[in-house]
Symmetry: C2
Subunit: 469 residues, 2 copies
């Protein structure tokens, strides 16, 4: 788990020395004691394996859904992030100047600007649609809190160059695919789908000035967090009259949050009525075709914070509404062009590891450490030990090296004990498939740790014997 | 490949618009054109696959050699890097202040300080030895040049808590294991091994003052880069007399660089003579036991730049001496203690992707894109197409979703063509195992792209049919 220093309140406290197993500074050596920066994490093997387990599901799902992986720099020119979001975002960024200093950089708070930059610079030669996934860390200089850290692992999938509801649904299907892969069901999580055009129409009808539409979207996004009075008051602050703001809160109360549901046939029929440009109907039809009816609901309060979304938006939430959003995304049909590319429709989503891990832990869906290690293929093929004779002792290193050279996961014991029974127990503890007991430089006994059967084997045949089974 | 902006000479040039396929800003939209920061890289799918191919070899080798993966923050408190290296290192770091600002951070230039911090804070509960590997990016604010970028992928393996030559050899064996895994042989690369104690003794015998020993090591490290005269002159600059400096250059000329070789039996015997503390003999014995005789040579000019090494040091070089070091490492027995842990011996190495990739490309050892994709398991199981009837058209999305849900890599065609022959060619181009031609919502023809055989199949049986084969 994360070890946070105690600098958040401006106090240069002692941190938490001695906390947890082996914490603090044993040895009393007078060396410096350092801690990880606030909001970042140290991943020891068991913790990293849990992250890798999630990331493996992300990666496998992306590939199975036909996405190809890309990557870009960890930091970008600061203006890549400010051009579309204004300078307000600067306080949430870790920004820095290059030594010598005429350029300012920032650690990426998200990957979409880099993706748009990369797509724009090769647009002419890229396939249509282009389907990319990305999986790395992002950085936000916010105060750390539950579900929100300063460094976290993020997974993105984007379909670029396809403006169809089919592409929207395919994106959501990939997101759901990963949730399913790690054991979540429609009982656990809900995909809340909306469309910015619908929300903008609603705000327009309520008389919101076009110039403050962004503030209107942010206002809607606070619906679930505020009491009705406060929500209505904030609506007045952006220029709505109190009746209109109240009317919107009533509409949302009827449709949004825990009341969200799959839209009725009559609603979809009226949405797609002749003479209207349908907003929801094509998407929900495509979602149904992808088998996603159980997972998705319509939630008109979902607006998403980021400025660049233009149409469909969605968020993944724990079903009861606990925790922050697990994932979120939507359509951003203007961004590639803003970054110097040709006009190009695009849709994508991002999922972070922090909230997802809280939900998995809460629901008991994170497998035990041994199970995680087994699924990641980390269990040894063989533990090689000596029968205690000097000749066998001297042969261990070479035999282990030979097995590894053959592509096998081989370990040796670093213990000084000559108690073969104890060493075989170690093989069981590390879940090795075989324990190889060297009898000399030429011969060994191979014990199958599953069947407990054992038989003799020449050292030269060991790799083949172990690999073959 | 990397796209470098042209800001290095302080000019805010136009970069290289229009360079390469699809470069520049098509569309003339008036959007901003951005480029990746100097010395960083954009990885499109084919380029990223080549990196993943190398990283897969690193990961598999680490696991087979019994190392467990860890990770830490991308940035640390600045003093984690300065405490052991002095303030001189600051100019090579990307450092920044947190918003609000009482703390200064830096992007990691290497992982070892984080590893030492992490080990120190849990030393009491960690196994002895602890074997950790790590694979992420590092950052250096140096001027980019061939083989040296500002962001690069790095692989580390470390054995902590074992001071034996056996552990030194096991580390080097793991490094060699990865080189072998990606096709390099002892003809291509050479492991140049040395020991700081040997070099320090040599400098001491030559009369070097103990207080400038670090500068003496740095001086030796320049041996391969300078002419004899310049080398001797620099030796005088650190306080050696010219005879002594010249004598050292003669010793190195006899033993180092292209003349390096596996040490003779008589040299090892005298190294391990009674009454002496042997420096080389146990290591070279252990290297021989690990089957590494062909790979390793003794090179007394290898001192390594970093201040923290205490004993054995090594570098991996292209055999002819072309390019910078591919990898390097050594023993750092004082570092854990400096970071607040108990006195703990440790040995490890790091390998970056940049020089390694240059060497692989130069030797023609990087497989072709299709081969890389195949080895990474990226080829589709099936391309699903329609026979052109409305019923089959409408079933594609659902069938693809069903196959993906079954854990298969399924793609659909985004083309509007109804020419089945052309679509089947697309399946061949993307190296799909099967092409599924939907005849209706219930039935399909499955074409095996390997054998070219085809047969009918109910849609409900498709996943089983494709998975089974």
């Amino acid at each position: 788990m994360a070890r946070h220093e105690a600098d958040d309140g401006g106090t240069k406290g002692a941190g938490e020395p001695g906390r947890g197993k082996g914490g603090g500074a044993p040895g009393g050596s007078g060396g410096h004691v350092f801690q990880a920066p606030t909001g970042t994490r140290d991943f020891y093997p068991a913790e990293l394996n849990r992250l890798r387990y999630v990331q493996d599901a992300w990666r496998r799902t992306s590939i199975n859904h036909g996405f190809e992986e890309i990557d870009g720099p960890t930091f970008e020119h600061l203006d890549l992030y400010t051009v579309k979001s204004g300078d307000g975002i600067v306080s949430e960024l870790f920004s820095f100047e290059r030594f010598g200093g005429e350029k300012t950089f920032a650690l990426r708070p998200e990957f979409t600007p880099t993706l748009a930059r990369m797509y724009a610079s090769r647009a002419a030669s890229l396939p249509k649609p282009t389907k990319w996934f990305w999986m790395q860390n992002c950085y936000r200089a916010e105060r750390p809190q539950r579900g929100r850290l300063r460094e976290f692992s993020q997974w993105n999938c984007d379909i670029i160059g396809d403006d169809s509801a089919q592409a929207d649904a395919e994106c959501i299907a990939c997101c759901v695919g990963a949730l399913e892969e790690i054991g979540l069901s429609p009982n656990d999580v809900r995909i809340r789908v909306n469309n910015r055009r619908y929300v903008q129409n609603m705000l327009r009808s309520a008389g919101l000035d076009e110039t403050v539409m962004d503030r209107g979207l942010s206002w809607l996004d606070t619906y679930h967090k505020l009491e009705t009075d406060a929500f209505v008051k904030n609506g007045q602050a952006i220029g709505l009259d109190s009746d209109q703001a109240y009317k919107i809160s009533v509409t949302l109360a009827a449709l949004a949050g825990p009341n969200s549901k799959w839209p009725s046939d009559s609603m979809l029929a009226s949405d797609a009525a002749p003479g209207r440009e349908p907003i929801y109907e094509p998407l929900f039809k495509a979602l149904a075709a992808h088998g996603l009816r159980e997972w998705c609901v319509l939630d008109p309060s979902i607006a998403r914070g980021l400025a660049y979304y233009t149409g469909m938006v969605f968020e993944v939430h724990e079903a009861s509404g606990a925790e922050r959003a697990i994932a979120g995304g939507g359509r951003y049909d203007k961004l590639i062009e803003m970054f110097g590319g040709p006009p190009t429709p695009a849709v994508g989503f991002g999922m972070g590891d922090v909230v997802l891990s809280l939900v998995l832990a809460d629901k008991g869906l994170m497998p035990k450490d041994e199970e995680v290690a087994a699924r990641l293929g980390l269990n040894p093929d063989a533990l090689v030990i000596s029968n205690g004779t000097p000749e066998a002792d001297g042969a261990v290193a070479g035999v282990v090296a030979e097995l590894r050279r053959a592509g096998l996961h081989a370990r040796r014991s670093y213990k000084t004990t000559k108690n073969i029974g104890k060493l075989i127990q170690d093989a069981a503890k590390m879940r090795a498939r075989y324990c190889v007991i060297l009898e000399s430089a030429e011969s060994a006994t191979v014990k199958d740790m599953g069947t407990q059967g054992q038989e003799g084997c020449g050292v030269a045949e060991l790799a083949g014997r172990i690999a073959r089974r």
